[in-house]
């Protein structure tokens, strides 16, 4: 399987797609994200697995996102996600608030090919008022009253993430980030950027194979060294503190955001 460019991956994500993305600490394909903005992507729906930050804020600020499902959107220690907040206040963004395990469960339901999964907790939360698609049912196996929440399967059109390694067969090594495999199993298509190429077959190595997302799920891979910049990427590189500090400061206003975005797009 030939490696594509990050721009080719971005071009393979159609406007209007439901795009599943990991948390900022979980392998975000930032280089592809910037290419999505370069190609002027529109009307995307994002499903965060289970939270998002810089990636969602950038895409929202660039006008590429119509709807977002997440348990939280935050720049973590760099503060609130200002473009996310601004779009919400202006009514330009439909927010489907969630709680982390509900997003995991929604993707797991899709992974299993079932319409919903039950999970404990959540009862008493106002999230149930915001989510008419989450239902409270009686546990059908209990004789006593036992209300339980069910959440619908989430079927992303595309799962997009960044991983350490891929081989030329389309196998992608994700290591401990098993939620990326769940995302890929749930999604119709999976597009991945990687730090480096693995010569050989990842599935041939008994130590690497259990941490590998195998090729049946993977549509295309792009090579992108430092592809999660300016976010940290596992033990490969730390966050670019100066870039994130500057982003957090500038993105308080749309003008400031646009200035940083242009630097990152053309820098």
């Amino acid at each position: 399987m030939p490696f594509l460019t990050t721009l080719q991956l971005a071009q393979a994500i159609p406007d209007g797609a439901l795009l599943a993305v990991p948390a900022d600490y979980g392998g975000v394909a930032m280089a592809v994200t910037l290419d999505l903005i370069r190609r002027n992507a529109r009307d995307l729906s994002l499903a965060a697995a289970p939270v998002s930050g810089l990636q969602a804020d950038l895409l929202i600020g660039a006008g590429a996102v119509r709807q977002l499902q997440a348990a939280a959107v935050s720049l973590g220690e760099y503060g609130f996600a200002q473009r996310f907040t601004a779009a919400l206040k202006a009514g330009r963004l439909t927010m489907q608030d969630a709680t982390c395990p509900a997003l995991h469960a929604g993707l797991q339901a899709a992974e299993k090919g079932v319409p919903f999964l039950p999970l404990r907790g959540i009862l008493g939360s106002d999230l149930l008022k915001l989510r008419p698609d989450w239902k409270v049912i009686q546990n059908p196996l209990a004789e006593m009253p036992d209300p339980i929440v069910v959440v619908p399967a989430i079927h992303p059109d595309v799962a997009l993430f960044h991983a350490p390694l891929a081989d030329r067969h389309g196998n992608v090594w994700i290591g401990l980030r098993r939620e990326l495999a769940t995302m890929a199993h749930a999604a119709r298509r999976t597009l991945v950027s990687v730090e480096a190429v693995f010569d050989g077959n990842l599935l041939d190595d008994p130590l690497r194979a259990p941490g590998t997302l195998p090729h049946p799920y993977v549509e295309a891979v792009a090579l992108a060294s430092k592809g999660a910049w300016p976010l940290a990427f596992a033990d490969h590189y730390p966050a670019d503190h100066d870039a994130l500090t500057r982003y957090a400061e500038a993105s308080r206003s749309d003008e400031g955001f646009q200035a940083v975005l242009q630097e990152w797009l053309h820098g």
Binding site: A23, Y25, G26, A49, P50, V51, A70, A71, A72, V73, S74, G76, E77, F80, A81, F84, T85, L88, K89, G91, T94, M95, D97, A98, T99, C100, P101, A102, H104, A105, Q108, L119, R120, G121, I122, L123, G124, S125, D126, L127, L130, P145, D146, P147, I148, L176, R177, R178, E179, L180, A181, T182, A234, D235, H241
Partner: protein
Amino acid sequence: MADALFLAHTLARLVAASRSVAVGTNSPIPAAATLLAREQAAQHNGRMVISILGSPRHTPFTDGGRELFDFAAQGRLDSFFLGGGQIDGNGNINLLGIGDPTRPKLRFPGSFGSAYLYSLVPNVVLFRDEHSPRVLVSQVDFTSAAGSGPDGSYRPGGPRWLVTGRAVFRFDPARNRFRLHSIHPGETLDEVTALTGFAVDLDDGFGETPTPDTKTLALLRGPVARELAFAYPRFAAQHFPSGHFSSEGHPA
């Protein structure tokens, strides 16, 4: 306001009896408290399982983001820390925002795992450094996670403690309310009451929050600071300086 070492010590006492403690995102002081509690458990030949989100070195899970939540639902997680943009006297917490959620006046990051873990983890410790009427309110504007109930639901978990930069509250499950358990050194009851937006009544044995002893401070400045630097390098450098006790407050 209390400093980071004092607060870490205070939080650590509240999870000391736990076999397992987890810390969520962007929570350096709870992370320090958890590392301290583990050190102290180890000194008494106890084993404490800890999980600090975002720190692979401190996360003993291999099955992805869902595993911690499954672990909690299995009843294996004894303690968890949560914060809140608003916290009310009945233990309800708001991590979402103020005003109509679809067009909010003020938006916080979101509910994270709170709606789930608050119901399932037996010893939830709320921590918010800022102690003010805008944080500690009589009733939250949005309930990310409810302090109790609903009646008749499966609910092994809930709030047990609330720690701020000025005081400790204990949750009274008989009344479903927080009661003021202690105030930190240098605080006065009048001031703490005035800064609390919900009605304050005193817990049995109300007193002053204990300060860390020299042995605890040595742990905080030594092994805890070193471990914390893996998860929160800049915070550790700023707030856990080795060799002297910082008397500075830390930013909210």
